[in-house]
Amino acid sequence: MALTKVYDAVTVFKHLNGILNVYKPAGMKAKHVRNAILSNICKGLNEMKQRELRKLPKDTPLLGTGTAADSVLHNIANNEDLSDNILSVGPRYLPRDIRCATVSSLGDHTSGVLLFGINKGIGQSGCLRKNQLVRVYHITGCMGTATENHLPDSHVTVRSNYRHVSADRISGLAASMQASHQRKMFELCGVDLQTQEAYELACKGLIRPSDDSQPVIYGIKLIRLEGPYFTLELHGINETQEYLAALVHDMALELRTVAHCSQLRCVRHAHFDVRDSLLRHGWHLPGIMKNLRQQRDILREHPELLRQERVELHA
């Protein structure tokens, strides 16, 4: 079928379904991102061609004074229902007309991939949430100062020296933490460790937790170290911003120094990559529609994202 340009708001709204991959800027609440997206969608829809005005029913009582100059009668002769006019009832599309749900929320200081289910995509977003998909973070820690909540915007509590910290020591610590987290993973899978079932699970490799109560970390890796800053790549499920910040703090204590988390960035959520995510200047209707289409292709390529049968990790 040939591609045609769409000018009609109804058609666009009909196709406004699916998963949306948005790049959430740091320092902006996930709720505000959602509101901005929804209001931009509505703005776009309201600027497009709207449906025709409703016609008046035939037997409407005439309420005008009956003179020729009376515009009430003119309008009725025109047979247009003025109560359906955009000026009198308001815009056709309001943010509350669009259903929207986040797959998993990010904290205020976290930037990166944020997935929304829009309209009929809400079902898909629920599946994604239930399936406990792995998220990959790039976490930058700043050594030398510790802050109250381990994030850069609060009071500095401790300062210390960090000259003795080398890449080898961070990598070694990361590896040992990864090992201990993987032990915890088997404890959280909901199977008694002293059974044949647990043994079979362990043979399969990494497994995902049974519920979303406890954070599980599958891999920590140092990817960059310069000056006071070091960047870790971290794969995990059920993690929160506070948990990750505390993790950086604990790591620094192990390294005989202190640190706070200067940047948290979610670079991947299952197969939804930061490369496809929609930046703030792309949050308009055409960009959103394009992004929905891209994410639909990703979902089609990886049907296991929605229908998860195996307990072991593969995404």
Partner: protein, 356 residues
């Protein structure tokens, strides 16, 4: 003895009949009041206690007319209660004229009491004189819709008062174009009494030691500042003066160039200022030179400044090479900025934004 007892009972029953007539009439009147329709008051039925059959006839007549009122919906169609103005748009001439002018009825009805007020207006009597008055002041017809949407209460003001307020502006030597701009940009201006506007203008003149010309420029550039919440204005002026430390001369220059700064929440303003002054390293004098910096949102400044820094082009000192004017940073959309100021391409900028 027995006869007198019977007579008593008879009198009692007659009294009862009289009361029943009165009560039906009362019920009728009450029904009429709740209906709020323009039906003339029913002539009082004569209450006779002389003959029973006459009484009965009057009673049935009253009941009949009462039933008629209860079933008569014909002329009350337009007065059925509704949650919005749209329900009346088909039957009210005023609302139809408003729609033609481009007034957003849905945003009027959201404010308390305004829907009812607008509905009570008569277009010929209450609206037309104001439109011709505004047209005489040079307000163009395209702006009427926006103005009345914002401030429908203008129709409550007396036309003579409005004329006085215009004369006041004339006496303060506001030019024709200035007045036209003021009325168009700020539909609330005409609601303010001459004394109040005078006090406000006096405040600005005294606070920033403005000349008459500068004050007129300020009021024309951003008419909304003059009628803005005074509490908020005082707070912003405090922020600008004490927290940011602009001196009196710089402050007046800043205010005249960008009066909108006073309407921005002070917390946002101080955040922007601290970024510009501390992270970008611009002096007060440079900020006064381009007040657009303070008017732009902080994330925008941050993104663009950090991108320039990454490219090694964040050089805001006009004495040195490769100078980038701070004004150009906040101009235009991202595409314009990336191509003309950063001399890079949008893909790089996108990649950069995704690392933050």
């Amino acid at each position: 003895m027995f006869c007198s007892a019977i007579r008593k009972i008879l009198v009692n029953s007659q009294n009862a009949a009289k009361f029943s007539v009165i009560s039906t009439q009362l019920r009728y009147l009450r029904g009429q009041r709740s209906a709020l329709s323009e039906i003339d008051v029913l002539h009082p039925t004569d209450i006779s206690t002389k003959q029973d059959d006459k009484e009965l006839a009057a009673e049935t007549a009253a009941r009949k007319s009462y039933e008629e009122v209860a079933l008569d919906f014909g002329s009350r169609e337009a007065h059925v209660p509704s949650f919005n103005l749209a329900a009346y748009a088909n039957s009210s001439n005023t609302l139809q004229q408003f729609v033609k002018l481009g007034v957003n009825l849905h945003s009027i009805e959201r404010r308390k009491g305004l829907g009812e007020f607008v509905l009570r207006l008569d277009f010929e009597k209450n609206v037309k004189p104001y439109i011709s008055f505004l047209a005489d002041q040079g307000v163009s017809a395209d702006d009427f819709g926006r103005m009345f949407t914002k401030n429908p209460l203008l129709f409550k003001e007396d036309l003579d008062d409005l004329q006085t307020r215009v004369e006041y502006l004339k006496s303060k030597r506001f030019s024709e174009e200035a007045r036209q701009r003021i009325f168009t940009q700020n539909p609330y201006w005409l609601m303010f009494s001459t004394r109040r506007v005078d006090r406000r203008l006096g405040y600005f003149q005294k606070e920033f030691r403005l000349s008459g010309h500068d004050l007129r420029l300020l009021a024309t550039r951003e008419p909304n500042v003059i009628t803005y919440n005074m509490e908020h204005l005082r707070k912003s002026v405090f922020t600008l003066k004490e927290e940011m430390g602009f001196n009196a001369k710089e402050l007046s220059a800043l205010i005249v160039r960008k009066p909108r700064l006073m309407m921005i929440p002070p917390d946002d303003l101080i955040e922007r200022f601290s970024y510009i002054h501390q992270d970008m390293g611009l002096s007060h004098a440079q900020i006064v030179q381009c007040p657009e910096l303070l008017a732009s949102r902080e994330f925008r400044l941050r993104e663009r400044h950090e991108f320039l820094k990454l490219l090694g082009r964040a050089q805001y000192d006009p004495q040195k090479d490769l100078y980038i004017s701070p004004k150009t940073i906040v101009e235009g959309n991202n595409f314009y900025f990336v191509r003309n100021v950063a001399k890079s391409d949008l893909k790089t900028f996108d990649l950069f934004l995704k690392t933050r």
